[in-house]
């Protein structure tokens, strides 16, 4: 009896009681729906009637139909390009704020995040205004005499989607990389300089490996969600910039074929998860090699 009483007033039970509610909420609204959508992919739907007998048809269609395969590959390509571009642009920015921000670090971080308090839909729409045939960019370049003909490769294709998403996800890369850079003990860098390392060498041997957690966090937090964006491709992507999420949305809404939509969604999630895990493993191996 005493043991039971002790357990109830112990740290362990207090912690579990506190976290029970949020955990239950997530189980109910996240784990259960994800499981259901996984099973839904194995069912079939004929207009409004759902047939609950097991069938692999939807997954076979999702993986063999050339249209879905092309969309999936293009989406992965766009997501990878967006991730790479965002991280490459955000790293120097985060580095500048962390190492040269002086006492204005907070101001810089504030400045970097303000644009993202504008409505997401309007930001995407305004990129359409910037990149269009008679858009801001083309009129400006024309006025400056840089171009004779308006540039057409920047709207209604994959490039436009990449530019817009690279803009949309910037703070999600800048902030984690900044936090990782801030944690680096500056005396390591001084030690490296004292021992004769040049700026580039000490960056490659100390700063970059130690800030890798931020880079990896940024990459994952951008790569996985961008695969599910259907607003940007729809508004600026044209026909050649559509992504898998647009197809998922169509299957759930207009086409009324939720099981096929579910199998596409589960496949997309599966593929990005596997790519992310491989990426994590490669990064761990690279860091271990550096460390030894």
């Amino acid at each position: 009896m005493d043991r039971v009483k002790n357990w109830f007033s112990s740290d362990s039970s207090r912690g579990l009681t506190l976290i029970g509610l949020p955990f239950g909420f997530s189980l109910l609204l996240l784990a259960a729906p994800m499981l259901l959508i996984f099973f839904l992919g194995f069912w079939t739907q004929d207009y409004l009637v759902l047939d609950r007998s097991f069938s692999l048809d939807n997954y076979i269609e999702a993986w063999t139909e050339p249209m879905y395969r092309d969309l999936m590959l293009r989406s992965l390509g766009i997501s990878a390009a967006v991730t790479l571009a965002t991280v490459m642009l955000a790293y120097p920015m985060a580095y500048f704020i962390s190492f040269h921000g002086g006492n204005r670090k907070a101001l810089w971080l504030f400045l970097v995040t303000i644009p993202f308090w504008t409505s997401y839909l309007l930001r995407v729409f305004l990129w359409k205004v910037i990149l269009g045939y008679n858009g801001v960019l083309n009129s400006a370049l024309d006025w400056l005499g840089v171009i004779e003909e308006p540039l057409t490769f920047i709207l209604y294709n994959a490039n436009a989607v990449i530019i817009t998403l690279t803009h949309a996800w910037a703070p999600f890369a800048i902030l984690p990389i900044y936090v990782a850079l801030e944690k680096i003990d500056r005396s390591y860098l001084e030690a490296a300089t004292d021992l004769g390392d040049g700026p580039l060498k000490s960056f490659l041997r100390i700063t970059l490996p130690l800030s890798m957690t931020g880079v990896v966090g940024a990459a994952l937090i951008i790569f996985i969600p961008t695969i599910g964006d259907y607003v940007t491709p729809k508004l600026v992507g044209g026909k050649d910039g559509l992504m898998i999420a647009n197809m998922i949305q169509v299957q759930f809404m207009k086409a009324n074929n939720a099981p096929l939509g579910a199998s596409l969604a589960v496949s997309a999630m599966g593929i990005v998860s596997i790519i992310s895990l491989v990426f994590l493993a490669l990064n761990r191996r690279w860091l271990r090699k550096r460390g030894s």
Binding site: G15, L29, L111, V112, L126, G228, I248
Partner: protein, 288 residues
Amino acid sequence: MKSNKNTLKVFAYSYLIFLYAPVLLLPIFAFNDSTIISFPLNSFTFKWFAGLTQETYLQESLKNSLFVAISTSILSTCLGILASRASSRYEFFGKKSILSFLILPLFLPEIIIGVALLVVLMQLGLPLSLWTVILGHTLVCTPFSIAILNSAFANMDMSLEEASLDLGETRFGTFKRVIFPMVSPGLIASLLIGFTISLDEFIIAFFLTGTETTLPVYIWGQLRFPAKLPGVMALGFLMLLLSLILLLLVEFFRRRMNRTTDDQVNVQFGNLFKHDKKRTRDSKKNHS
């Protein structure tokens, strides 16, 4: 080294221009007297703002959005308090896996969350309403609340809490009078982040919304009609101003509250905790 710094500075400013490009266009077209959203500009006008007052559908969806955003921010902050208090103060079985599960929505495409919730609701035969949007938004906002509140709880000086318990205050009283004032800046930040994310969230709302729409769903509908666009620009500009005011308020409260809690501690505990306070301040310095 000097030239390195200057190159970085030039890059930082050009990157800022890229980040601000769409935002700067918003006021330009909100005040431009032309239905076409492009250059060259016409004359200056307020008529798009005046026109907003006549859109009853817009006002409906604004009201809906405020209701959703306020409910979401309260719910996700409550869940965040429970989770981050548990994680910062107690050790228990499966702590790490439970916490990573709670922040998982941060790493999931929103369309997956929206679609999955939609399927569950349809299977259960529940009708879509603003409450279904609130549930979806709470799921997405809770990880942000946990992240903010975790640092608030972790930065708290535990000796104050222990002192309160030792001096005979109950657990609830300690929470109310000692812990709550110390984490309140974090609470306000968490409420505000939840509010702003929910107010702007479109993808999940689009799937889970019923007959009553939220503001982003309304804007999405308007984007198809060229004649409506200048009004949408005016609306977007007002929303941006609102967010900026909220952000500045948070900053103001955060600073003021930091000062008041410090003063209160000084008055109430006199010199007793001077040594401890110095220690926490130093450890805070090391943290940031």
